[in-house]
């Protein structure tokens, strides 16, 4: 009898994802397929069972290698090594690391043969070429001193991943559209429409500006619009799916020529993927520097602002206040509330006391009542995170009421709208804004925003246009721009921002 069925259409679709490894279990004959972005697939006589980070204990959906070892299945994901025992149906998770350093990503498994064969050992190669050995006794991965493993791992260092695309991209391009696409990495959920894209885009924070800039630039140059590739939603939470997975999915699609992203948590992962897949990635705004990334010219970061900078402002605010008493002003909106809660938690950790927690609906037009509550609570500072218009109105009011406020917001908030609506002296408010805003002494910020997004777009366009033609040139260009950015970061831009705002 022939195997005819696919038990899950979702699993079948997942086969269209590029895969990194196929491993056959010698005992059961089952095939284990590691995909870049679609999890681990078991093909048992045509039955496709898909294990993902959502429906199983698998650490991440981006698998760099798979190995069947002594009845267990090991998956090297970008979020650690997952081990699955089909007999007990249990998953284990290991994050190999050297000493106290951050966990490393294992990119490839190796079996080091031995005499007798039963003493063969399972190794994993980290991206930097160092070997880790699996110890079945402790069920853990530890740095290995095995010479053979070291040699084998070294030889594959920086080797491009052998990514197999089972289905070549089938596209018939209208002549007005360039045959490339930009992947956009967006953390979560709401939907807005973007001019030039033929469908609504999920948007959250910053990327809309970058996308619009990108499109505007091409239009200005008289070029055909770029077709925007799809971006998978991500879950902004630990463990269940993060932007790096989405990034990897985008980056591994053959039709995607570049990726623009924001706030990618695992810098080393994007670095690995970018390099292994030969894919330029522009990260719009995280302001984080990750060790090892500097050498990698394929990832570009704008280095303008981000959590670190925002945290610096908050810390400065708290340090400035004696026994800080903070008030929280919430405005309706899911994601803004989520972010604000993060900052409230952060402030609490630094010893701030939350003396008032006020909910304000700008549509209700009851700003006066809100301010009264803040004054009554004798708040020394106010934390809020809102949209541009509401923020502007609120900050103006707070200023008049003689309170200090930390507006924790990026360009989705501090933008043209904000500038239009904010009172002239809004600069006295503590606000996290892009560098040039601060350097200009707290003036209206729109210019800097354009600077930032245009810069990102320019880099990306340069990379895209050169993709497939002269990679080395693109590499060099990105390297140069990147080192400029790094230099800016090193010059302590953020110290300036915080100080200039506080001195006022």
């Amino acid at each position: 009898m022939r195997a005819l069925m696919f038990t899950s259409s979702i699993a079948l679709l997942a086969l269209a994802a590029p895969y990194s490894a196929v491993e056959r279990d010698p005992v059961t004959g089952d095939e284990w397929i590691g995909t870049l972005g679609a999890g681990l697939i078991r093909n048992s006589a045509g039955r496709l069972d898909r294990f993902t980070q959502f429906n199983s204990g698998l650490a991440g959906d981006v698998l760099l290698d798979v190995k069947v070892w002594e009845g267990r299945i090991f998956a090297a994901t970008t979020r650690g090594i997952s081990g699955y025992d089909p007999r007990t149906e249990t998953w284990t998770l290991d994050l190999p690391r050297r000493g106290d350093a951050a966990p490393v990503v294992i990119v490839r498994f190796l079996v080091i043969p031995s005499d007798p064969p039963s003493a063969a050992s399972l190794h994993g190669c980290a991206f930097d070429g160092s070997p880790f050995r699996y110890d079945a006794g402790t069920d853990a991965w530890a740095p290995s001193g095995d010479r053979a493993a070291r040699t084998a791992c070294e030889s594959t260092r920086n080797e491009k991943a052998e990514v197999k695309a089972p289905r070549p991209p089938e596209r018939t391009e209208p002549s007005s559209v360039t045959p490339v696409a930009i992947g956009i990495l967006i953390p979560m959920s709401r939907t807005i429409s973007v001019p030039g894209a033929d469908r609504p885009w999920p948007d959250e924070r910053v990327d809309r500006v970058a996308i619009e800039e990108l499109l505007a630039l091409r239009t200005k140059r008289g070029e055909a619009p770029i077709e925007l590739s799809a971006s998978a939603f991500t879950y902004e939470r630990h463990g269940f799916g993060t932007p790096d997975d989405t990034l990897a999915i985008l980056a591994s699609r053959p039709e995607v020529a570049g990726v623009v992203g924001h706030d990618v948590p695992y810098g080393s992962v994007e670095s690995i993927l970018a390099s292994r897949l030969g894919m330029p990635i522009v990260d719009a705004a995280p302001g984080k520097s990750v060790s090892g990334e500097i050498e990698d010219p394929w990832v570009f970061r704008c280095d303008r602002y981000g959590h670190d900078g925002q945290a610096a402002v908050l810390d400065a605010l708290l340090a400035d206040l004696d026994r800080p008493r903070l008030a929280v002003v919430r405005t309706p909106g899911g994601e803004t509330a989520r972010r604000l809660d993060f900052w409230v938690g952060r402030a609490a950790k630094r010893g701030a006391r939350i003396v008032a927690d006020v909910i304000w609906d700008p549509k209700g037009n009851d700003l006066g009542a809100v301010l009264k509550k803040l004054q009554r609570a004798r708040a020394q500072g106010v934390l809020t995170w809102s949209d541009a218009q509401a923020s502007a109105a609120l900050l103006g009011g707070i200023r008049k009421a003689g309170l200090r406020a930390a507006l924790v917001g990026g360009p989705a908030i501090v933008n043209e709208d904000f500038a239009r609506s904010a009172p002239p002296d809004a600069g006295t408010v503590l606000a996290v804004t892009p560098c040039s805003h601060a350097e200009a002494g707290g003036g209206p910020p729109p210019e800097s925003l354009h600077d930032r997004s245009s810069e990102a777009a320019e880099h990306l366009l340069a990379a895209v246009e050169n993709a497939g033609r002269d990679r080395e040139a693109v590499r060099g260009e990105l390297q140069r721009k990147r080192s400029q950015s790094v230099a800016r970061l090193k010059n302590g831009v953020w110290g300036t921002v915080a100080a200039s705002l506080l001195i006022e």
Binding site: M1, T92, A337, L340
Partner: protein, 799 residues
């Protein structure tokens, strides 16, 4: 205060030195060494302490057996996690986390409320020399109000306890002596019939010539299926309760080996050469390939969902396995079931055949000489509201035919006015002429003319075979020769090697019905020796398994709850509005103490659930009499849970213990306190892991109608909620009043009750949170790390 600690506390200290490990249980003696009546900080009232101390001993009283029987725990009360959960301390964690000073016999001890005390005892030991201050306890647990939810998690009325302690119900010992034959095998010579008796846990050896029981071999509890090794010297029996397969030496009638095989095994077969033994680990969707001599596992194959019975093709080149449950399908999408084909020669799965729209595949047999397999199936029309009962279109029953090329045909055994409910056992005669199918729900068997059936299919146009026959009632006149009444609830059937007789196991009559195949008449009934008396539970069991009460005899309780569990489907019962609230069919195992019933929690007791309400929608006839209802409820209460394969006798593994800590946590990963209502144990509390309340977790869909009344939270009430509570309910759960409250399900046996959520939309435990808890309404899980989340799942699987 300086106080000399008893010697055993000093001995304890080195053992407690490992600081990073979670605290473990030290036992009451260690606690009272400081906190006795004369000492400081003794706040527990002596009365409460004493009563709590007796709780374990209560499990040794004879009444406890009856209570345990009514809870379906299936274990002695002193071994049952369900009982120990409220009658003892530290049972969930298990002996691995007990100090030598800890004695479970001390019942509900200090640590039951205050948490494991090893850290506190160690801190105390160190601190007493200096400051006398110790704070190794979680502050929240230092003072327990008698009205706290912690107390209420156990101190709730339990129907099982009320039934026994107040109403004087006692377990009828006859209940345990029934036989319940469910599996049959005949020796090669045909002189012996081996009958697997599920209830009595034995294999009865029947002399087929004398038609009487020769001997009875005790095996592991709840035996299910039996296979004879080709050499005729060994029998293999699976046992559901003990999760084992046993080998029996035929000559001596002794069990020679018994090994664990995976959860709730059902079917067992050998290959033709007797070199491989295939055991179906039904509860874990696996086929365990074993060495028939040593019973050691050589491979574990992936089956469909709930592998049930296996049949070997006469040429030995294929083993076909039916699967009881359909494969997981997207919400309200058509389902299919799988026939798994194993190649016995290399012990690997060679093919999988989908059987569209079918479920509850059970008996299977090959037709000798034709390489065609026939199997039983049900077609539950789960995608339409159950408004079509009168037309006979809710559950239909039939046969599947698997051709050598992998094609599957489906035909119905139902006639428009007379269904053939619960087709269960199936056998084909050695000459391939006849098949006998049992209808467990209507106490009959049908004799199928195999050649006529195959010819009927072959001559039917392709389109009709696919789109008409699976739905068409009445076609069975083309191939069913005869329907023969047999004993109650026939579940297994087999032919004698010479083909002259067929033996049918009448499960709820404790008898074998012998059918003479020359004229297909009942030749004899062989009693297996069960009690003559019919207890109330037995009456209930018969009613549960009989379709007699349903309109047109279409289905029994068992049709949707095979083996008291569930069939993995989602049904739209029209009682609550057509097209509204399709709900996941829930397991009936051990549910008496988990009221209210139904997902909406509208039925306060099992009698409400099984009584008039059900009769209105299911049988359209008169409701059951009071006696019938009482018997049915008694029986449903006793339906046992399977043994949990994820939990060992030593208690939790380190990963499972970590998971329990996540379950019990009171602060999130940022160190912020979690309001009680956001913790797992608030709604899933006590021994059953349910507070017996209803809660909204945001799982409702637009067609789940409005909740009648949901408590609204006053966001300005700072005193009641605290600042964090206000933040929580403003942000994490912006409008909890809009959430539709649904019954907090108990979590016992959750490892075996997929799919999850009230409408079965989560195929795996993980997806309950990764897909359906975006807003932290179903407990705060958004901050969990991957490791914590995996640990939590590991713990839940032990319940």
């Amino acid at each position: 205060m300086s106080r000399k600690l008893p010697a055993f506390v000093l001995l304890l200290v080195p053992a407690l030195a490992a600081g990073s490990e979670p605290a473990i249980f030290v036992g009451r003696q260690v606690c009272v060494s400081c906190h006795d009546a004369g000492g400081a900080a003794h706040v527990c009232t002596a009365e409460a302490g004493e009563a709590h101390g007796k709780s374990y001993r209560a499990l040794l009283r004879p009444e406890a057996l009856s209570i345990a029987y009514m809870t379906g725990t299936g274990e002695a009360p002193r071994d049952s996690q369900l009982c120990l959960g409220c009658h003892a301390t530290g049972a969930d964690e298990g002996p691995r986390f007990w100090e030598p000073t800890f004695r479970i016999e001390d019942g509900v001890q200090c640590e039951a409320c205050h948490g494991p005390g090893s850290d506190h005892a160690r801190a105390r030991r160190v601190a007493s020399k200096r400051t006398g201050e110790t704070r190794a306890f979680d502050e929240e647990r230092l003072t327990i109000s008698p009205k706290s939810d912690l107390c209420k998690s156990c101190h709730v009325p339990r129907a099982s306890h009320h039934m026994v302690l107040d109403d004087g119900y006692r377990r009828p010992e006859d209940d345990l002596r029934y036989k319940n034959p469910v599996g049959l095998a005949v020796s090669a010579a045909g002189d012996r019939l081996f009958v697997v008796c599920e209830r009595s846990g034995s294999v009865a050896v029947v002399d087929t010539a004398a038609r009487r029981v020769l001997s009875e071999i005790q095996v592991d509890p709840q035996p299910q299926d039996i296979a004879v090794h080709p050499d005729g010297r060994t029998l293999y029996v699976t046992s559901r309760k003990s999760n084992t397969v046993s080998a029996i030496d035929v000559a001596s009638g002794k069990v020679v080996a018994s090994v664990p095989v995976g959860a709730a095994p059902h079917g067992v077969r050998t290959d033709g050469a007797g070199e491989r033994l295939f055991v179906l680990a039904t509860g874990q969707n696996a086929i365990s390939v074993r060495n028939p001599r040593t019973l050691a596992e050589t491979a574990r194959l992936v089956a469909g969902t709930g592998p049930w019975s296996a049949a070997l093709r006469p040429d030995g080149k294929a083993l076909a396995v039916t699967n009881l449950m359909p494969e997981p399908a997207p919400f309200r999408d058509p389902h299919h079931s799988e026939i798994t084909i194993v190649d016995p020669r290399d012990g690997r799965v060679s093919a999988r055949v989908p059987v569209p729209d079918a479920n509850t595949l059970q008996g299977i047999a090959f037709v000798p000489g034709r390489d065609v397999a026939i199997f039983t199936l049900m077609r539950t029309n789960d995608l339409v509201p159950m408004t079509r009962l009168q037309q006979g279109w809710v559950v239909t029953n039939g046969l599947g035919v698997l051709w050598p090329d992998g094609r599957v045909d489906q035909v119905l055994l139902d006639d428009p006015a007379d269904s053939f409910p619960d087709p269960t056992g199936l056998a084909v005669s050695r000459d391939g002429k006849f098949a006998i199918v049992t209808s467990a729900g209507s106490d009959r068997v049908a004799v199928v003319d195999v050649a006529a059936l195959l010819e009927f299919l072959r001559t039917t146009p392709d389109d009709r075979r696919r789109n008409d026959l699976p739905y068409r009632m009445g076609t069975s006149t083309r191939f069913v020769l005869k329907r023969i009444p047999v004993g109650r609830n026939p579940r297994a059937v087999t032919f004698s090697p010479d083909g002259r007789f067929a033996y049918v196991a009448a499960t709820l009559d404790d008898a074998i019905t012998v059918i003479e195949t020359s004229g297909f008449t009942v030749a004899a009934t062989i009693p297996l020796g069960g009690p003559e008396v019919v207890t109330e539970t037995r009456r209930g069991e018969r009613r549960f398994n009989s379709a007699a009460f349903a309109f047109g005899r279409q289905f029994s309780c068992r049709s949707c709850h095979p083996e008291g569990n569930m069939n993995g489907l989602t049904l739209d019962i029209e009682a609550d509005g057509i097209g509204l609230r399709p709900v996941d069919i829930r397991s009936l195992r051990g549910i008496l103490d988990t009221p209210p019933f139904k997902w909406e929690g509208t039925n306060p007791s099992l009698a409400h659930q099984c009584g008039p309400r059900l009769s209105v929608f299911f049988n359209r006839l008169e409701p059951p009499s009071k006696e019938e209802l009482s018997a049915l409820v008694r029986y449903v209460a006793t339906i046992e849970r399977p043994t949990n394969p994820y939990r060992s006798a030593e208690g939790l593994t380190p990963a499972q213990r970590r998971g329990k800590q996540v379950y019990d946590r009171k602060t999130n990963n940022r160190g912020e306190p979690m309001p009680p209502a956001t913790r797992c144990g608030y709604c899933h509390s006590g021994s059953y892991k349910t507070s017996l309340q209803a809660t909204g977790v945001g799982s409702e869909m637009w067609f789940d109608s409005e909740a009648p009344d949901v408590e609204r939270i006053d966001l300005s009430d700072v005193d009641a909620l605290g600042w964090f509570g206000i933040v929580y309910f403003s942000y994490v759960s912006p409008d909890p009043s809009r959430l539709r409250a649904l019954d907090n399900p108990h979590l016992r046996g959750i490892w075996n009750s997929a799919p999850y959520m009230h409408n079965g939309t989560a195929p795996t435990l993980e997806e309950i949170w990764t897909r359906f808890n975006l807003y932290n309404w179903h407990g705060v899980t958004g901050d969990l790390t991957r490791q914590q989340f995996n640990d939590l799942i590991e713990y839940l699987k032990t319940l």
